[in-house]
């Protein structure tokens, strides 16, 4: 059992606001993990620190035994919540861009997926709708043969059909050497594809279990349990 991500006493302050409060995690290879919590619970902050987009205030994160940096970025594929595509490129050009910088990028796979989604590689990114841009971003991220996929709210702003496609893509790309961590607050849609669940409340880990453990022990779905734990 290889540990792909190890988090020890991670703390993050933004000014005087505590976003992450002594988070401790241990995530093994080949799992699909759901990082669940309401808005502002620290999910995005955690994922950004994994990606070296934020620096922790205290504690440490090790990905594949290394601290987040240039070396980890080579095998970590990150899908942010935001739309990060530049507007002057065409779809084919951003595919080439990814191929240029990431040695684990499979452009054949990317064009395949784009084709299936009816996205014309010659279209300018500027002209695409918001939903289409999100699909392009997903295709780019999933076309990498990464060891860790970090998806921040991948199904948040998408229609139900696209949601199904995204979950389907995640399953299709699954392999025992890769791990997927996705953060979301839309739980009922994705429960069945998750292995492990992490509940994050106000920057603290309040629960780590597998989906079936939760259902077995509480007789409820994860979605139902979530509503209980995070009742307003």
């Amino acid at each position: 059992m290889n540990t792909v991500l190890e988090c020890k006493d991670l703390v993050k302050y933004f000014g005087s606001t505590k976003a992450l409060d002594r988070v401790n995690l241990n995530i093994t290879q080949g799992r699909i993990v759901g990082l669940l919590g309401p808005n502002g619970s620290g999910k995005s902050t955690f994922i950004k620190i994994c990606n070296d987009l934020l620096t922790a205030t205290a504690g440490e994160i090790l990905i594949g035994g290394l601290r987040p940096g240039v070396e980890t970025k080579k095998f970590v594929s990150f899908l942010p919540e935001k739309n990060y595509l530049n507007d002057w490129m065409k779809v084919s050009q951003i595919v080439a861009f990814f191929k240029d910088f990431y040695s684990d990028f499979d452009s054949g796979k990317a064009f395949d997926m784009l084709n299936r989604l009816n996205i014309d590689p010659n279209s300018r990114l500027k002209t695409l709708s918001k939903g289409t841009k999100e699909k392009v971003q997903l295709v780019l991220v999933m076309s990498r043969e990464a060891r860790l996929y970090l998806l921040d709210e991948p199904i948040g702003g998408v229609d139900p059909a696209a949601r199904d496609y995204i979950l389907d893509t995640i399953l299709r790309n699954y392999n025992e050497n890769a791990t997927v961590i996705l953060s979301t607050h839309l739980i009922s849609d994705i429960e069945t594809i998750l292995d492990d669940i992490i509940f994050l409340k106000e920057g603290q880990v309040v629960l780590t279990k597998t989906v079936d453990e939760i259902r077995d022990e509480s007789g409820k779905s994860v979605d139902a349990l979530f509503r209980e734990v995070f009742k307003c």
């Binding site: 934020l54 620096t55 240039v70």
Partner: protein, 259 residues
């Protein structure tokens, strides 16, 4: 990786400059070969020739100014938008060191700045009537005899260092502005003023070391004194540039906080 970043940086910026350069040169050529129309107001009625001449002169003038403005704006915008806007998520996820990002943008910005200056001057030279050009080249020859060979190099070095300094100081100001939670643009502007002032103070403090030997012969410095002075200025500017580069790098590495 640095090369790849520069390649994309070039592509992102060329779409602005190349059309402008082309337009500028075209208008310079038009102005040069337009038959000279006496733009004497006393003449009375305007004729088409005069109007065209005036329009093309203005167009050329605006293009030159426009070029300077675009060069300035593109430098800032590329840094701000690409690294600190939403695109920052794309750039900082790449397996690339922070200093490589800053350097790639710096080099390409430097490239365009130099090219813009060369083309602007080139177009001005194009406009100068041929007899005047001969006069000009004669005086240039005199100056170059005085400066050759070290002087030229020193001047080029000074130009490059000053340009780089001018760009880095903007990067540093933007990076420092990013540290603020609100009113980032205003903060950047304030930082720019602050850094500029600081730089001038440093320069003033350092200058006496290079000027003292010069005070006796300010009117006609020897080549060596000239070189020393300009090299000294270059060194101080370079040192400050390195400092500001380091500040920018550290902020982007440790204090990055994309929305």
């Amino acid at each position: 990786m640095l090369g790849k970043l520069m390649k994309y940086e070039y592509r992102a910026t060329a779409r602005w400059f190349l059309p402008l350069y082309t337009a500028l040169l075209i208008f310079a050529v038009i102005n040069k070969y337009l038959p000279p129309a006496q733009v004497t107001a006393i003449e009375g009625a305007f004729n088409i020739k005069q109007i065209i001449t005036v329009i093309t002169m203005f167009a050329y003038f605006f293009l030159v100014v426009g070029l300077m403005v675009v060069t300035f704006v593109v430098v800032i915008q590329r840094f701000y938008k690409s690294l600190l806007g939403d695109e920052g998520y794309l750039m900082f996820t790449l397996p690339v060191k922070t200093w490589e990002h800053v350097t790639s943008k710096l080099f390409i910005a430097l490239f365009w700045n130099l090219l813009s200056i060369i083309i602007a001057f080139g177009s001005v030279l194009l406009l100068i009537p041929t007899q005047d050009l001969r006069e000009l080249s004669r005086s240039l020859k005199q100056i170059s005899e005085y400066l050759w060979p070290a002087g030229f190099i020193v001047i080029i070095v000074l130009c490059l260092v000053s340009l780089a300094f001018g760009i880095i100081i903007m990067y540093a100001a933007i990076a420092l502005g990013h540290l603020f939670n609100k009113h980032k643009l205003l903060a950047s502007f304030g930082m720019y003023l602050g850094i500029s002032t600081l730089s001038q103070m440093i320069a003033m403090l350092a200058m006496p070391f290079f000027i003292k030997p010069l005070t006796n012969s300010l009117i006609a410095p020897t080549p060596t004194q000239f070189n020393t002075l300009f090299l000294g200025i270059s060194a101080v500017t370079a040192a400050m540039a390195v400092g500001y580069f380091a500040v920018t790098n550290i902020i982007l590495k440790r204090k990055l906080n994309l929305e």
